[in-house]
Every structure is written in structure tokens, then in C-alpha cells.
């Protein structure tokens, strides 16, 4: 069930909790799957020097990010015994407390899904050309930095 086509990972705004439930349900007929590993990124209301974070506004070099995501996907499928992999990343403003990243990895057995999910999240953080600007309650903003 290897997926090779380019899929758009970007969605406008926050990812609703209902989508996550619906996507789990969509896998009910893929009975070769024995494990799902899901990672959800949530916008944190950090206290910054200039104010408190109320939202993050995401922008991306979309064409490059899609190509890079395709390469990351291929390498993870080659390395782990996976059934499928889905990534959804927000663009535009996402408020504190809302979901901005939804990573969903499935495999016949748990170890592959758990390992691949962790590697995938790290790759998304450090290899995808995406930028977050933290919007503060003081109407100022600071560019986010990944750690």
C-alpha cells in the first residue's frame, strides 16, 4: 500500500479535532494495520519578553516543502515496515491551544509506527521550509525558532 504520489500537506488554519477522529475511522477497512502512531502539535502560549503568544502565523516555501516531504516519506517507507503515512501542517494563523500539525503513521506492528512517527516529526521540524511567526498579545510579533 505504498504511497508515491505527491500529496498536499498544507491546510489553511487550525486542524480540527473532528478531522483526526474522521481520519482514524477512514483506516477501519485497512485491516492489515495493527498500529497507528499519531503526533499532534499544539500552539503553546509562551511568555515572551514582548508579550504572550496568542497565535502562530505559518508560511512556507510550499513547492520545496512538498518535494522535501515526498523524499522524507520515501526514505521512511524504505526504512520501516509501514502501511501508510499522512501529514497535515497548518498555514496562516493558528491560535494558542489549537492544533497546527497532525502526523499519522500506520503499520502492521507497533514498533515501526512509533519509530517512523518520531523520525517523521523531527524531519518536519528541521527539514521542511516552513516558518512560524509568533503573534503576541501586545500586537508585536517574533519569529519562532525550533529547538
Amino acid at each position: 500500500m505504498k504511497e508515491t504520489k505527491h500529496k498536499n500537506i498544507f491546510v489553511n488554519g487550525a486542524i480540527p479535532a473532528e478531522k483526526i477522529a474522521a481520519d482514524i475511522q477512514k483506516h477501519a477497512d485497512k485491516t492489515g494495520i495493527g498500529a497507528h502512531s499519531i503526533f499532534l502539535g499544539q500552539v503553546r502560549a509562551d511568555e515572551k519578553e514582548k508579550g504572550k503568544v496568542v497565535a502562530i502565523e505559518y508560511t512556507a516555501y510550499e513547492e520545496m516543502a512538498q518535494e522535501k516531504m515526498h523524499a522524507i516519506r520515501e526514505s521512511l517507507f524504505a526504512k520501516h515496515d509501514l502501511s501508510c503515512m499522512h501529514v497535515h501542517h497548518s498555514l496562516g494563523a493558528v491560535k494558542a491551544g489549537e492544533i497546527c500539525l497532525f502526523v499519522f503513521v500506520s503499520s502492521p506492528h507497533r514498533a515501526a509506527a512509533i519509530k517512523a512517527c518520531e523520525e517523521l516529526v523531527e524531519a518536519i521540524k528541521f527539514e521542511l521550509p516552513v516558518w512560524g511567526k509568533e503573534i503576541l498579545d501586545t500586537e508585536q510579533s517574533v519569529w519562532k525558532e525550533n529547538r
Binding site: A60, H89, P129, W143
Partner: protein, 77 residues
């Protein structure tokens, strides 16, 4: 020969625009020099360079229609 330069994230705050066209840049080092003349604040900024969506770490010769992207450290997720 014309190439396109794209700016992302905090670099867009420095340049005030998302993209521009350069006419006389034979390689990526020349692009960097020309841009730093136009936007002195770029010299102090930390960024990666991509040529036609591929990251580069050394100087590359440019061809008509190439796209050079200047990208600050990523902060997605």
C-alpha cells in the same frame, strides 16, 4: 539572463518583498553580493540558500529562469 530570488520568513521583513528579478547574476555568490548591497541588513542575517528547490552550500553557476531562495532557519511544526 534573468533569475528570480525568493525571500521567506524574517528575511521578507528585511527586504519588504517576497521576490525580485535579477538580471546580471552569473552565480549564487553574485546574487548574495548584489542583495547585500541592496539590503545591508541581510549581511547579519542567518539563512540557507536553495537553487531550484535544492539546498546548496557552495557557489553555483546560474542559468536563465533559475530560482534562488533565501531561507532563514526553519520553524515549522
Amino acid at each position: 539572463m534573468q533569475i528570480e530570488v525568493l525571500f521567506f520568513g524574517s528575511l521578507k521583513d528585511i527586504t519588504g518583498e517576497a521576490s525580485l528579478l535579477l538580471a546580471d547574476a552569473k552565480d549564487t555568490d553574485t546574487v548574495q553580493e548584489q542583495l547585500q548591497k541592496r539590503y545591508p541588513a541581510l549581511a547579519a542575517a542567518k539563512y540557507f540558500t536553495a537553487l531550484n528547490k535544492e539546498m546548496i552550500t557552495a557557489n553555483k553557476t546560474l542559468r536563465e529562469g533559475d530560482t534562488v531562495a533565501l531561507m532563514p532557519p526553519f520553524s515549522g511544526g
